[in-house]
Amino acid sequence: MVETGDVHEEILFRPIEQTGRGFYWTVAVLSVFILWGVVAYVTQYYWGLGVTGLNEPVSWGFYVTNFVFFIGISHAGTLISAILRLSKAEWRRPITRMAEVITVMVIFIGAGQILIDLGQPDRMLNVLRWGRYQSPLLWDATSISAYMSASLTYLYLPMIPDIAILRDRPGGKRKLLYSVLALGWTGTEQQHRVLNRAIAVMGVLVIPIAVSVHSVVSFVFSMTLQPMWHSTIFGPYFVVGAIFSGIAGLIVAMIVFRKAYGLEYYLKPIHFRYLGQLLLIMSLFWFYFTFSEYLTGYYGAEPEEMKVFWSKFDGTFAVFFWGMVLCNLVIPLACLARLAQHTVVKVLAASISVIVGMWLERFIIVVPSLSSPRLPFPPTTYWPTWVECGETAGSFALFALFYVLFTKFFPIISIWEIREGREVGIKEVEERVLSYLPGEVEGQS
């Protein structure tokens, strides 16, 4: 019998055991957007991709932008959680679960974007039957499915003790589900040892997989000969952008659930300050990569590259380009430079800005290169229709719905890890700090 939550943790069970009006309203609003997305997709499936704004030569638009964007957001979770766990950052404890859930939910939405983009979605299994490994799209399929399974495992493992707590709570719901998922967890020392080992192994494993995912997503573009796509920096550039937008996504999710479920007791300003600083660092990293990428293109001054370059700096796409710079660099710097006061509000503002900015960044990578063909074709512009807007809104709403539903089934903050922090963490940290210091440590030989 696992001991069933002390008084402190009661608030974490509340969303699972009680359902208020807020929940139904949220689901209703999200469903409207999802319905829009469904209607849009049915229309597109029936009539063909002609109902979108895509054309020749801009044959990729919102869907591919969304694909890169969502896969990027999914980086936050597992990667950040793994790095914080491995580096024994004690402040991670209330954050890791939220981060891992984002990854798992968003990666399905992201992979779905490619299926939405297909002209013949019913033939998608041809990728297995006739798969050509020379195509970067197949690298994506491999890498993303590896990441899906790894992050699902990495989300599930640390949930087992919490599921056992839910199973053993008197008067709890869904006993059967929890007792199956708890895998017979009783909380013995042996089980804890095995679990911690498994989490550590997965933590090490997911980091290279996560890096590979966004690298191969960038390879879809950089392996072609197209101007401003064919760049060696794209792999790391995309990974940096992914972590950047991922942290922003995580912060927004944390603040939303903190407000909705009253988690101020767990998610303190200090957590947001640390994450805000991380976001600031990533913003500078992102700027460094962007600067290098564009400066190299500009100095080489290859005519085809310059056509795309100027369309971004001073042409059709200038609004999006400078909007991206504003959202990804100027606003985050202004908000995050000083975090002593109004931490949460400032971090929230910066994160929302980064999410918008990174979406624009993905758009500004996908569309301008396609809009400037090398041969003298008559100019065309790409403008999305209600179908693409519906798909996009629906995808965001579907992600939010998945997330909300998750919190109705499982605690969004890891109960046992918080408890472990109280019981073991404090002592461990003290011992660790002592072991860093010169000289003999008391009580150790």
């Binding site: 002609g50 297909l118 013949q120 006739w130």
Partner: protein, 227 residues
């Protein structure tokens, strides 16, 4: 084995678009209508591009008929995740309409924009279509195949008549229809063929040759008489 190629003499091209129309009729290429055309969705396997002369833009236009260039190192085939587009041993870049999943990666990768997408179901079977070329459903990419069905037909004919196949029996619709005889087609691997001879001309050049795609459609620049 033959290596099919084409030489287009820009000095002879009048920009009359006979090749474009012949190609559309031969290959059942759909007419997409005004609305779709305005949205940039014209399908034209053979397309006449117009380019103004850099030195004197007012008084001279250059016409560049552009079929699929049938690259020997095609950027489009490498990125196809399902082998729906491929280079066959005779150098023709084909497209399997029944297998294509419509991801449009090949369109994004082709530097010549020679691949076209079926945004809608543009046509159903009706009289007057060429029975040798299958209609494309919505959601797949289509492209110029050097009228590959004509090659198959010529080979079958030769077989039926129990004789050797003569490469001169195989001519794509665009070359056949050109009133100025600007398009010459044949086997590039045969040094005696006209197309191989013309490809050696000092006027010969290839589109975006610097990309290393090794196109098998070769152009002859306007001669001294031109601008």
């Amino acid at each position: 084995m033959a290596l099919w190629g084409m030489v287009i003499d820009l000095d002879r091209c009048t920009g009359c678009q006979a090749c474009v129309m012949a190609c559309k009729a031969e290959n059942n290429v759909p007419a997409v209508g005004v609305d779709q055309a305005k949205r940039g969705r014209i399908i034209s396997w053979m397309q006449v591009l117009t380019e103004s002369d850099e030195q004197n833009p007012e008084n001279k236009m250059r016409f560049v008929p552009r079929p699929c260039l049938q690259c020997d190192d095609p950027p489009c085939t490498k990125v196809c995740p399902v082998y729906a587009t491929y280079r066959n041993p005779e150098g023709i870049v084909g497209q399997i309409y029944g297998r294509c999943i419509g991801c449009r990666f090949c369109m994004a990768a082709c530097p010549y924009n020679a691949k076209y997408f079926n945004w809608y179901t543009y046509q159903k079977e009706k009289p007057g279509q060429n029975p040798d070329v299958s209609l494309r459903p919505k959601g797949v990419v289509e492209k110029c195949t050097f009228c590959h069905h004509r090659l198959q037909k010529a080979r079958a004919q030769a077989l039926a008549e129990n004789r050797q196949f003569d490469p001169r029996e195989y001519v794509p619709a665009c070359a056949e229809s050109c009133p100025a005889q600007a398009i010459v087609f044949g086997d590039l691997s045969d040094p005696g063929s006209e197309v191989a001879r013309l490809a050696q001309s000092p006027r010969a050049f290839k589109l975006l040759e610097e990309l290393g795609t090794k196109p098998k459609v070769i152009y002859l620049t306007e001669g001294e008489g031109g601008g």
